[in-house]
Each structure stands twice: as C-alpha cells, then as structure tokens.
Amino acid sequence: MTETVDRSIRSIRNFFPRLGGWFSLFRESRIGVIGVCGIAFFSLLALLHPILLGTVWDPKMYDPLTPSLPHPPPNPAPPSADHWLGTDPYGSDVLSQLMHGAGSALLLGTVAALVTVILATVVGAAAAYYGGLFDAVFMRLADLILMTPMLVILIFISTFFELKLLPLAVWIGVFAGLGGTVLVVKAQALAVKNRAYIDAARANGGSSGYILLRHIIPHLAPISLLYMMFTVTEAVFSEAVLSYFGLIDAKMTWGMMIHSAAVSGYLLRPEVWWLVLPAGASITLLCSSFYLVGRALDGIVHPRLRAR
C-alpha cells in the first residue's frame, strides 16, 4: 500500500519535475492564497447544496429550479430567517439558486479549462515539433478564430445546437484552446524543441511520440496550467454574458438569475438588491479567484519574476 502510494508520488514528481518546489513558492504568494480561498469557498457552497436539500431544506420549497411549494406571495420577498437571501419573483429561494449556480459555474469552468489545455498542449506541441503543413493549418485556424467575434460564433452555435451547460463548456474550451492559447503554447514549445536534451533523446533513438510525451509536453505543463486558470475565468464570464442576453438553455446558473431578474424588470432596483447583487458578486468573485491563482502561477512559472 505505502509502496504504491510512494511510487505514484514519485512518478508524478518525475513527470512534473518541479511540482514540490512550486508548491512552497505558491504558498508564499499572497494573491494565490486569496484566490485559492475564494475557489474553496464556492466549492464548499456547491458541495453543501445537495446535503442541505436532503436535510435542513425541504425540497418542495427550496428546489432551485421549480419548487412545487414556492414561497407565498408577495414575491420577491426580502431576506428572512427561512430565506437568508430572500426569494425571487417566482417564490424560489435565492440562496439555494446561488449554491446550485456555484456547482454549475465550477463544472463549466473545469470542463472548458480541461478541453482547452488538452487541445492547446497537444496541438501546440505537435505544431512546434512537426512544423510544415500541420503547423500552417492550425496557425491559420487560430487566426480565423481570433478574427471572428466570439459573440457571432456563439449565436451561430446556439441556433444549431441546444446549448446546455456541458456542450457550452466544450465549445468554449475548443475555441479558447484552438484560438489564443495554442499560439502561446506553441511559442513555448518552439523554445523547448531546440534544447540540447531533445537532440540527445533523438540521438539515443527516442521516437517522435516518446520525445513529445516525455520531454516536450512536461515542459509545457507550467504554461498550460496558467492558461487553464484564465480559461476558467473566460468560460464562467462567457456563460454569464450569454445567459444575460438570453442565448443559452442551461438550467440554473448565475447568469440565468440575473437574466430572470432583468426580464421581470428588477435589474436596476436597489430595494430588491438580493435578486442581482449575490449572483453578480459571485460571478466576479469566482472569476477573480481563478485569475488570482493564475497570476500567482505566472510568478512561479517565470522565474525571472521571483523575488529571489
């Protein structure tokens, strides 16, 4: 048992050579710790939601989507002991919606970021390593994606595909991965490709696949991790904007909360602040938490930015 754990830790260390060192550096950076606290807070909200619904909260009243027994009118009702963040115009509990939305946002962000990073790393490494036609095709594709306004692409996709949460996450991941991120990753891969140890590996008979997987991609891990954080921010933000314009068909997200407040005419009414402020603030806080972590990683990945 211990031996297996030990071996797997060692193999992770082997694959990502500087992981342990980074961790201690990361703890020293204050903004990174602030960001991690923010992410932990929203993860906790998302995890607590199903537990609360099963125990303290009666699902009939606290269901985030369509409670069978909504809060009696007048709605929206201000915060009370039963409803800490009040109720929405239809009598649903805002806190329950907010917690459910936290889960949606984290899921969306994680899936989009994983798709982006996998695509950008594989395509970027291969484009840098093989060059030629493969490189040219994917670089021109990146240009095209960067030139086309994102909103037009998303309107187009939303007409032809039902935009539920997961497909949206995959689409955002694909466009972010094959657009801007692959350019950055490829530039990094080009620098790695010309190092002496790549020549040494080839001289020792390493195949292209082996060199890519064992030598190039691990050295792209830092920059990929950095862009993973930025993609989460981008994905959560895009979802919120799309929902705000009423373009997607997700069940309950923070953007939908603002959208439904807007269509019922409560957007600019400070006296019903609990309809928009919690959702708007959550979008901003979660996005900035991931961005802060990304910035902290930036300082670690680029050694010249370190204090010592």
Binding site: R30, I31, I34, R140, D143, L144, L146, M147, T148, P149, L151, V152, I155, F156, T159, F160, T233, F237, A240, V241, Y244, I258, L267, L268, P270, V276, G280, I283, T284, L285, C287, S288, Y291, L292, R295, D298, H302, R304, L305, A307
Partner: protein, 395 residues
Amino acid sequence: MPDPRGWKSETVMRRYVVLRLGQIVLTYFLFLVLIYFLLEALPGNFLGALFGESRLTAGQLDALGAQLGLQGSAAERFLQWMGGFLRGDLGISLSQYPRPVMEILAERAPRTLALFLAATLLSFSFGFFAGKILAMRRGTAFETTVTVGGITLYTVFTPWFALWLLWIFAYALRLFPVGKFITYEMWEAGAPDANAVFRHLLLGGLMLAMVAWAVFRRTARLIPARKRAVRTASIAAALLVFCGYWIVTGQAAYVLDILYHMALPVLTLTLISFGGTMLLTRSSMLETMREDYVLLARAKGLPESEIRDRHIARGALLPVVTTLVFSLAFAIGGGVITESIFSWEGMGYTLMEAVTLSDIPLAVGAMAFTGLLVLAAHLAADLLYAFLDPRIRYG
C-alpha cells in the same frame, strides 16, 4: 536561421513582410468565405424576419427578394458579393435599405473609434502608471490590495457593473446623461452634422497627438529644467489653438455635448480594463529590474524615481506597447456589451443588430472591416516587436 549580415538586413525583413502579406491575403479570403456562409446558414432570412406575418403573396415576396438581390443560391450570392468587394463595393444594407453598407460603416466607425480610442489610451496610461508603482513596492500589503482590487475590476461581470455605474451616475446623481451619444433636442435645427463633428473631433485628437509627439521629439535633448517649460507651453498652445478653432466655428457646444455623453462609457471601459495593463507592466518591470544597467544606475546614486521612470519603465515598455497595438485594433470592433448598454450606435451595436435582423451584407461588411484591422495589427505588432527589440529576428 540567423542572418550573417545582421538582423536589420533589408532583404530578410522584406522577404518576411512579403511572406506575411501573402499569408494575410489568404487568411482574409478564408475569413470572408467562412463568415459569409456562417451567416447564410443561420435559419431565417431577412424577408421572413420582416414580412413573415404580412399578407404578401409568394410572388410578391419573390419580386421583393429579386429587387434586394436575395435570389439564387448562397454560393451565387457570395460570388456576386465578392465581385463587389474587390471593386470596393460592400453592397446595400437590407435593414436600412437603400443605404450602402459602406456609408453606414463610415458613419458608425468614427463613433466607436472615438469612444474606444479614448478608453484604451486612458486605461493603458493609468495601468502603466499603477503598474510602475506596484513593481517598486512588491511584497507589501499595498501591492496585494491594489492587485486584488485591479483583478476584481478586470474580471467584473461587465453588463452588471456598467448598469450600476449608469444607475449611480446617470440616474441617482444625475451627473451624466442616460444612453445615446448626443442630446437630440440640441442638434435639431441649424446644427452641424453630428457625424461631421465626430470626424472633426477624431481628426483634432490625432493632430494633437502628432503635435505632442513632435514636441517631445524636438525637446528630447534640452536640459531638464527648460525641457519641462518648453513642453508645457507648446502643448498648452496647441490645446488653445484647437479650442479656439471649435469656438470660432461655433461647434464648441456640440463637441462638449459629445464629450459629455462619452464620459460615462469611457469611465466604465477604463475601470474594467486597466487591471490587465497594470499587471503586465508590473511583470515587465520586475524583469527589467534585474538588468545590469539598472544596477549601474543605482550605483551611480541616481534618485529612485529617476531609476524607476527613466531606466526601468523605459525598458519595460516593450510588451505594453505591443498589447496596446492589439487593443487599438480590437477597439474598432467595439464592445457589443458596452455599446448596447450605453445605446452607443457604433460598430459592435451595428454588428449585433445586423446579425439579429439577418442583414447579411451589413454584418459581413462590418466583420470584413474589423477582421482586416485585426490582421493588420497582428503584422504591425510583430514588426514593432522586431524594431524595438534587436534580439528578435525574422527570416
């Protein structure tokens, strides 16, 4: 392959530019094909959107379609459009029939340019200034506070934030107007053409910038005490000439009205975007700080502010300038969110309107325009990079 004759060798640079231009033409053509057919593939067409519920017969609709150039297949329409495009004709807008697309874009581009140029330049100056200070104070509580604050604004949910600013400043405090880019009552009879005033405003700003640049170039070698006096006096004189021009031509009130309407959107855009420049400047400054010439400046005993502004910030400017070039190119595309919240009828607003109304000529025209600028900016940024940093070579 390093060039033995040095990086600035004319032929190498020329070959690189020609190669890139060729690629740009190819990419641009692909882009036009792509957006044209994407828009054509969207369900619903212009006639359906407009007359879907009227009692026009199929024959009458066909006749209307023929008149608007909607007959034939998508490929035929594309070829026809492409032919027009090569002759410099972007066709006629459907939703604003019979205005040519070129005319609509010429009317709306200056509005977007004025708004986003002002906001981009302001947020870059402010971000650069803030980033300089952050870099010098690394590791302090001040740095953490400003960084977290800047990032929060940078990642804020834009529609929500913009609406709140609009609510606070325009509705509660009544400091700024709500929406639109002019006060209509003021511009009714006898007023100059709003778009002409807009163009004059842009031209004036450009000339002012050129004068300022020329003054800074000419005075670069003067002794510091005189330099400041000469610069202040010349810029003040130039400003006075411009204000005088507006007053004499009787346009001053109208220009002020436009600026008054621009204030709130510019403030919003500056607040949400300075964070990016601030963090970029900080990173760039931290890298430059380790250069030997900074150590030399310290050893010479120069004052810290002098080292910061004249030695480190100079060297740290390169990546900031490159992103500025990019931002300026994207500025012409405008922001759909900002423009629709502030009812600013610029490029982003036009594009959104054209796409929702299936006005294909207008939508394609708008994107053809912005796409070209993005490609040009990409090339300009690469060349600028090579020009500013002798270590980078192409070829």
